[in-house]
Symmetry: C2
Subunit: 400 residues, 2 copies
């Protein structure tokens, strides 16, 4: 008799984005003359940059030939791309990686979900609150015990070391949803702690390309000893607009070890390699060639122009909100601005208020965890004209 994984029944329904869509649609239907401006979405906008488009067409052309046709690739990704990641993304930071420590993926989402396949179900997990919901839900599905680490203005959104010693720790910097980033000393505190208690850090660096502050590391491996305690997950989604293309990578250093149930010390890299080869058939060749184009000087130049636009939008939103007296966080090393709601409103109350008074859509912070209550997230991924208009409306709605 087939039995389900009953841990799934412990998951809370996920309705954040559905609810945003529903409330926005209801407003639009009852106010057909209004033009609603969306600052809620966490997705990039197009088009892809020219070098990437060229690489995508080139890969498709390969598949149209006998000679350059490409069938199954290596599940862990081709050597040329793994080496390119090590050389282009890490070597300039002073970080030495072997190509076989880099695993090409179809994006951060899959690997962040699947990585815990290689870890024991009994590991105790520390996760920040607020948080990207997948870290949490993945571990609920596996039945692990989770401790939440509050991230608030009071602790500068860098969680304090937990009372219960964790085995597995999720960190995301620059952070989604708070838009803040961990400094070198903050990150060092966590690396030192993880090494001390033999915990593993899963470090989500999906927003790395947005870092501007000098004291914010681009990779956790900039911290001494991090290769002995951290897996780093990255993606081309936000760096190069690949949310629809699907390509990223995950670094599992050879220096990482875990313990078996008999106390044996086991290297993690071959375990992840085996998992990838068993439950994955490799990233699309077309996406891999596009990823290669991102990792060139010209690819970086073209994509950083787009990132600069997002930074400009974030500046407009940040300063606009500050001008009307709101408390804002993040938005410097990130496309997200995290804002305390005025007058003690709940996240959803302020969402509704903003929709009705200014026809602007944000993301209620409570959707990312209980510590997000009383906050909303604004996104800088839209057009500059939309950001400008939205801020103008907010300022007007306050004045009126």
């Amino acid at each position: 008799m087939i039995h389900i994984n009953s841990n799934f029944l412990q998951l809370k329904p996920s309705y954040l984005f559905t609810e945003i869509v529903n409330r926005t649609r209801a407003y639009e239907q009852s106010h057909p003359e209004s033009k609603v401006l969306r600052l809620g979405v966490g997705d990039v906008r197009g088009p892809l940059v020219p070098v990437v488009i060229e690489a995508l067409h080139g890969a498709v052309d390969d598949l149209a030939t006998v000679e350059r046709f490409h069938g199954y690739g290596l599940e862990e990704g081709p050597q040329w791309l793994r080496q390119r990641v090590a050389d282009f993304d890490y070597a300039p930071l002073g970080i030495t990686l072997q190509a076989d420590e880099v695993f090409i993926s179809d994006g951060a989402g899959s690997d962040l979900g699947n990585l815990t396949d290689i870890l024991d179900l009994g590991n105790r997990v520390a996760i920040t609150d607020p948080v990207y919901p997948a870290y949490f839900d993945t571990n609920i599905m596996a039945g692990r015990t989770i401790d939440l680490l509050p991230c608030t203005p009071e602790n500068d959104f860098c969680p304090a070391l937990p009372e219960q010693t964790p085995d597995l720790i999720y960190l995301c910097s620059p952070n989604n949803p708070t838009g803040t980033a961990m400094t070198r000393s903050q990150l060092k505190m966590w690396v030192d702690f993880a090494r001390e208690v033999h915990a593993l850090i899963i470090f989500d660096g999906a927003y790395e390309a947005f870092i501007q502050s000098a004291d914010v590391p681009h990779s956790i491996y900039e911290i001494d000893g991090a290769q002995e305690c951290a897996i780093e997950v990255r993606s081309f989604s936000k760096t190069a607009g690949f949310t629809g293309v699907r390509c990223g990578y995950t670094v599992v250093p050879h220096a990482l070890f875990g313990y078996s149930n008999t106390g044996e010390r086991v290297e993690l890299n071959p375990l992840w390699h085996r998992r990838v080869c068993t439950k994955y058939n490799g990233t699309s060749y077309i996406a891999e060639r596009a990823g290669e184009a991102v990792l060139t000087d010209e690819g970086r130049r073209q994509n950083m122009e787009r990132i600069a636009e997002y930074h400009h939008n974030a500046d407009i939103i940040r300063s606009g909100l500050q001008q009307i007296g709101m408390q804002v966080y993040g938005g410097i090393d990130s496309p997200y601005i995290w804002t305390r709601t005025p007058g003690g409103m709940s996240s959803w109350q302020y969402f509704d208020h903003l929709l009705q008074t200014a026809q602007v859509v944000c993301t209620p912070g409570v959707g990312f965890g209980s510590q997000g209550e009383g906050f909303v997230r604004f996104s800088a991924f839209g057009l500059t004209s939309v950001a400008e208009q939205a801020i103008q409306r907010l300022q007007n709605s306050i004045t009126l």
Copy 2:
């Protein structure tokens, strides 16, 4: 202290294809004048058909525009493609599916590996032997108890019902590696059994496009009641040469239920939906558009021309082996021919013999399980000229 999933230590090293490559390379290095012919590979050859190439370029062009840019898609796949699968692949077979019973994937490999995430670790699993290794390894990783079902010439490669009642059953038809396919009555026996004992069948239909025999069902849902007991996994990899493109789909009917640890009856479709939305960020938009092109009359016509070539190659290999007195199986509804080694040789002995006497590479059957010992697999995915030449050499090497 981080602990690993110790079930990984129970996995046997996977060296089949590495070993084939190593032995072949060693032979070529010591016989630089020889031209080795490869009939071992299970990968398709190029190019992709014109309608698919056109769709791929079209999707890339979309990503080069502001208006038609495509960022995050739905994790479970877009409505237009899910509906197309139901209408184009299933409705003509008399099978009614709702679009939301179809989940678009990046290929069968990922879903076959990930599906058991929604199932209890205590389920008892029945798996055929020989078998595609991923079914087996996935369940070893999860620590489930596995019963192997021998598939031999004596039972016509259709396994007998197991003595131990299973909760989960893997079936693959047309089969990799044996190249045989289950008839309607054979499949009905399994569907009736699964319904009787409330087991779940995971049905791997990756080679469906190769079916020629009238009494071989194209989908398990052609059998009455199968929507109450089976998940069907399909791929464009072999149908349309997508092994490098990465797109497929999985059908999870609403009529499927499993039991929770408190005896509650729980529908599987929403569980799989939640799994997909948590640990996957959707299939590449470019691959999805290519999948759409496969599911058109012209797409089917163009791809079936290629399949006809593979069938032609299989005929050459089958009849050629029979002419030299070998016992062959499969190769009618499949690109694979399964052959008993002559003279009681082991799989690897015959592999070496064939390499040295005829410079032909096959796949040792023992690599797919102990019941594969004494067999080898030939693949029809190569060029017709290669198949012809290989058979000629085999016949000569016997005559000499």
